[in-house]
């Protein structure tokens, strides 16, 4: 079997474009997902009955339905409901954000619940304003607790983003498969894409594992 490096070389501009789209979509959905996840998490923890119900429904729905189905649903059904035309990248972003928000809500919740109640009480007893109870007392230790899970989720998010190629969002995998289809060099293109995903994700999962170990040592101590 001949492995044609030229195809890869010629594909670099398109691959770069795809990579940038992948990074952009992941970054943006992480950002929007953080907002959605925070709202859902706070609703679950401190909301009234309806808010808790709504947040639970959202989180459970998007943690249960396969990501591919979510992506297709947002792409083909949501525009009909809203009666608007949405471009594929926007649909992809919406789907990924909804997905990210549901998972992040649970990660945030676990992080916040891991901060002992006594910490908050000490802050309250001192008369510290609510904002500072959050920013100075709850969030820093909660973030440390959830760092491994956050890193782990980021790797999942990048993997899931490859599914966006199914609705023709020009992400890394989509561009690679386009080149492959045009040149019939599937082996080269899919292999190189696998390597690029590996290079992106492996360090993240190593960091996640490292943080996990450090946290275990800290807590066990």
């Amino acid at each position: 079997m001949d492995f044609d490096l030229h195809v890869i070389e010629n594909g670099i501009p398109l691959l770069m474009k795809g990579l940038i789209t992948t990074i952009w979509v992941c970054g943006a959905s992480l950002g929007i997902g953080t907002v959605l996840g925070s709202v859902a998490c706070l609703s679950k923890l401190y909301g009234n009955r309806q808010q808790r119900l709504l947040a639970n429904a959202y989180v459970n729905l998007f943690r249960t339905v396969p990501e591919l189905v979510v992506i297709f649903w947002v792409y083909s059904c949501l525009p009909l409901f809203l009666n608007v035309r949405l471009s594929a990248p926007i649909c992809g972003l919406v789907a990924m954000s909804l997905y990210a928000g549901a998972y992040l809500a649970e990660i945030f919740r676990a992080g916040i619940l891991a901060v002992p109640r006594g910490q908050t009480e000490a802050g309250l007893a001192l008369g510290i304003p609510t904002l500072h109870i959050w920013t100075a007392i709850i969030i820093p230790p909660a973030l440390r607790r959830m760092a491994p899970a956050l890193m782990g989720f980021l790797t999942e998010l990048i993997k899931v983003s490859a599914l966006l190629s199914t609705i023709a969002v020009g992400d890394l995998f989509y561009e690679a498969s386009l080149i492959a289809a045009e040149t019939f060099r599937y082996v080269e293109m899919i292999s190189v894409v696998a390597v690029i995903y590996f290079i992106m994700i492996f360090p993240l999962s190593m960091i996640a594992r490292y943080k996990e170990r450090r946290l275990r040592a800290e807590i066990g101590h």
Binding site: A122, A125, G127, I128, P129, H132
Partner: protein, 258 residues
Amino acid sequence: MTGQSEVPSGGMVGSDRPLISCDSIHKSYGSFEVLRGISTSVRSGEVVCIVGPSGGGKSTFLRTLNGLEGIQSGSITVNGLRLPGNRKVLREIRREVGMVFQSFNLFGHMSVRDNITLAPITARGLSREEANERAERLLERVGIRDQVDKYPGQLSGGQQQRVAIARALAMEPLAMLFDEPTSALDPEMIKEVLDAIRELARTGMTMIIVTHEMSFAREIADRILFFADGLLQVDATPEPFFGCPTNERLRAFLSKLL
């Protein structure tokens, strides 16, 4: 020593106007009534110890005074502010009343300095320099000035509790609440914490102290309250409290300690 002045008919310590007063407070968890009508008051400068069997409602009572626990009926007045009240009143009261917990509850991710300066900066609007200076002065006072840049996890239990005392004092409160401040400590560290509290008593700080250290209570308290079954069973000066208790529950409680 103010904490040990002779104790007849009351009124010789501090002013006559109560700083904290409770009127018939009731508190339930579900159908379980933890506080069944507590009325008492504490004057400015008074040191009041609370003793009683576990589960009697001592912690719950203490925590209603700064609104960490809400009450179902009755009212609490602290320096003219009334509970139950809105969030603003709650925060105001908490700024005026310091609390020290059995398990210290120091902020583990902050240095000792930051533990102490956080509240003065965010709740009193002190500048970082002012707060710093105050933190160092208070640490000096509780005898651990040299630990200012350590983290709570690097300190002994006794040191941690003294940091917690300094942290509460940094708000310059009108009164301090202690919930079994030495119960989580190894025996050799109890004295250093009790000494810090003794020193506070000497300066005339108003204090309510839940404790199992009977000799300490006897020595430091102007009044001792005995809580059992959600009721304030006895409210007396140390002499009669330990000398000739007429309350059956108190007699049983004291005899078990000996």
